[in-house]
Amino acid sequence: MELLSVENVTFRYPKASTDALHDVSLSVSEGQWAVLCGLSGCGKSTLLRLIKREIAPYGEASGRIFLRDSAVRGEADAPMLSDRESAECIGIVLQDPESQIVTDTVWHELAFGLENLGLPSDRIRRRVAEIAAFFGMEEWYRKKTYELSGGQKQLLNLASALVMNPRLLLLDEPTAQLDPIAAADFRNVLRRIRSELGVTILMAEHRLEDVLPDADRIFLMDGGRILAGGDAAALTTFFTNNPHPMAQALPAATRVFLALSGGSVFIGGTDSAGDTARINTAAGTSAAFGSTVPLTVSDGRQMLRTLAEHGTASASAGATSAEATATEKESASAEGSAADGPGPKSAAETAGKPALEVSGVRFRYDRLLPDVLSGASLTLHAGEHYCLLGGNGSGKTTLLALAAGILSPYAGSVRLSGKKLSSFAPGTLYRGNLALLPQQPRDVFTEKSIREDLTAAFLRTAPDKASAEADMLALCERLRIAGILDSHPYDVSGGELQKAALAKVLASRPKVLLLDEPTKGIDVRGKDELADILDGLLADGAAILSVTHDAEWAAAHADRCGLLFDGEVISEDAPGGFFDGNAFYTTAANRMARGILPGILTVDDIVRALAEVAP
């Protein structure tokens, strides 16, 4: 039985020249978990907001949307869904955990929607108690909302939507702003909601790794249209015949499968050639693992094992050739594959004083609080990209603030090209030396348009206005943001805003660039673009230190990786050695190939290795 049906919906924002949604039709059955996937700006959020009438965007809309038999929008013979029903039956959770919270206490937040529906106090009490018990939030039921962690805030938003007893739950990239552990917790709760309460879920997501195993139906959107719809297998088949950037967002196992089953994938998006490598495998390969599409790491291991047995005489032969292929690449990951060789960039090692040297820094936010950092050290050389990984609350952002001179350590030192940060004269540190891109790119903007902000930033270092303008335009061309210069910083997409913020921090021509979670909320295409830009900067001799949760990104783009744990940087190595040495904190491809193919960091590595193995 269909719960939601969208029929021929077309939508255009005011003053826009193209449709944001074009003739979109889809349906979701009762109890299903459906996923809308696509790059940012493909129209998935717009569609969700049109379904949730209260927050529908302004613009011209046509087409019809039904919830069971009532029309959500569009002229129809069917009865219209009343405002009260819409509030009750359709719940929505958006991306930003912070901005959806209305009141100051958890209990009041849960009661807020029920107050709006006009329920009497005793019924509100009962519903709130039930939902708090379901979510296991008794411990923080009495807390203030601002005391909660980001993950708890998003769970609270989910609980506040669910307390209304909705039949349809809309989720707009709900885990984009969460760290991996909190995101996994959130998905676990979603699974319970689906299986224990039977609530239908429609979720917009650009990262498919984690949601594909749970999804009953996936719709691929692009440019406001639905390109494909069906289960994971159908989607994979679609990608086999139609190359699409979203294929890169698939789980690692699925990407390997896709590459092997005669389709095409984009691999090595940052490789020198930059084009797509098409790998054709022997016809027998896909027969080896049948038609079930692998979605998880364990599925993937199964597939690799079968493949290794079926396709070659021995796995070791494959391994050797895989190693051979890998060493051909200049990438640092190759060195890592040689079991225990810690191989940081040799060129950088020899080049004089390190660009940035953090040695034995200790920091605490208050005398009475425990140390956040207790003797953390790292060095960063010119032309090197260092990725610092670490769990939530491990002090990554604090370390970055210390490295940027925003906070100062109570012991230890931070040196820039051998000079202590504290000995820089006022007004010199952030000119031509050091820059930080904060986690929230919005924080660097103060003006009405991006152009005004950037011009002001460039004027600080340029001799006159004309050259400032010219420099700015040149950089914007390079970052491909020249088209959005006259927009308000809040009117552009997350990826564009990040690039604009990057332009602002690059205005001072820093030698050392610090990045805080640069891939948070950025889609696959945006990540590749960012990597390209960073590669350009590295080639110009800049040194980059990024702090990230994103193991896949670090594996693909870092020269060196470090893990921050218990206030110190431990296990510093090139990505190859670093991730191969970790059992849990590593990439999905590495976990998948562990013990089957050696020296694997990314899906591309697996595909290359297998291509060698295949007869």
Binding site: V102, T105, G118, P438, S508
Partner: protein
């Protein structure tokens, strides 16, 4: 530690008003003394219990009292008994004593506001507001969420602005200017945030007719009992005041009406009222030590 944690906020509001209004406007030491005593006993008991008596705040109150006492005769020349003359103006005994009383009264009022903080759990503070003015109460609730959020955001925005060189110059003029930039960036962020929160409110049915207010507190029989006691005691005090029983003249000579039986009753009634927080603290202490000894 909140003794009155389970009491209905109406009871607490009544207690606070019934203590504060008479003492603030009667200007009689017969009321000021018990008000001060009640607040001091309660706060001291709490301080000793939690082992956190702040010497600095005691010193601060003493200084305040001393200042008000010493300064009042400079403004007021009403008394008839000059102690000394400052540039031809009399510095009188009556004005000095009036100042001493005024200082004590001021401290009593301030201390009662402090008691309110410990007596009323924060979440109940706006409960009565919620019943009378639900929209304002909702507005207040959102502000109480926003303020800590904005303070945290201000730190982040400042860090971001620092790293793009906004806070480069150390002098105060530049610092103020940079702070204004932070404030401006904070405004942009929070206004957009407000729009998003507004959408989230609408998504959860804000604006539908017939909104109710979730009541977490119930007015029970115990509340009714305590409220009647408070009102009865206050009635006695007000009656005494109305009859002029506690009348006290400061100028030109300090004269008090000789306390009759009613005045004594009024003072006692008021004193009992002021001691309610302290007495309930004692009751709780005794109850718990008894309870613990049985375990």
């Amino acid at each position: 530690m909140t003794i009155f944690h389970n009491r209905h906020p109406l009871v607490l509001l009544a207690l606070l008003l019934c203590v504060l209004l008479p003492v603030m406007f009667a200007q009689s030491p017969m009321l000021t003394a018990p008000a001060l005593l009640g607040a001091v006993l309660f706060l001291a008991a709490l301080g000793i219990r939690s082992r956190s008596v702040s010497l600095r705040s005691i010193f601060g109150y003493a200084l305040l009292w001393f200042l008000v006492t010493a300064i009042n005769p400079l403004f007021s020349t009403g008394g008839a008994t000059p102690l000394l003359f400052i540039s031809g103006r009399p510095y009188t005994k009556e004005a000095l004593l009036y100042g001493a009383h005024l200082g004590a009264l001021l401290i009593a009022v301030l201390l009662w506001f402090r008691c309110e903080r410990t007596l009323v759990p924060e979440e109940n503070r706006f409960f009565l507001f919620g019943r009378l003015a639900p929209k304002l109460a909702l507005l207040i609730s959102t502000v109480l969420r926003f303020v800590p959020l904005l303070r945290r955001r201000a730190v982040q925005v400042r860090a971001a602005q620092t790293a793009v060189g906004v806070y480069d110059d150390p002098d105060w003029l530049h610092r103020t200017k940079s702070q204004m930039t932070t404030m401006s960036a904070l405004t942009t962020w929070s206004l957009e945030h407000a729009i998003d929160t507004g959408a989230a409110m609408k998504a959860r049915g804000y604006g539908l007719s017939g909104r109710t207010t979730y009541r977490t507190c119930r007015f029970g029989t115990a509340d009714a009992a305590i409220l009647s006691i408070i009102l009865a005691l206050t009635a006695v005090t007000v009656l005494t005041l109305a009859r002029g029983g506690l009348h006290f003249d400061w100028y030109p000579y300090i004269t008090a009406t000789t306390p009759d039986r009613l005045a004594v009753c009024g003072t006692i009634a008021y004193a009992v009222l002021c001691l309610i927080p302290f007495l309930s603290f004692l009751k709780e202490e005794i109850r718990w030590s008894f309870y613990r000894s049985k375990m």
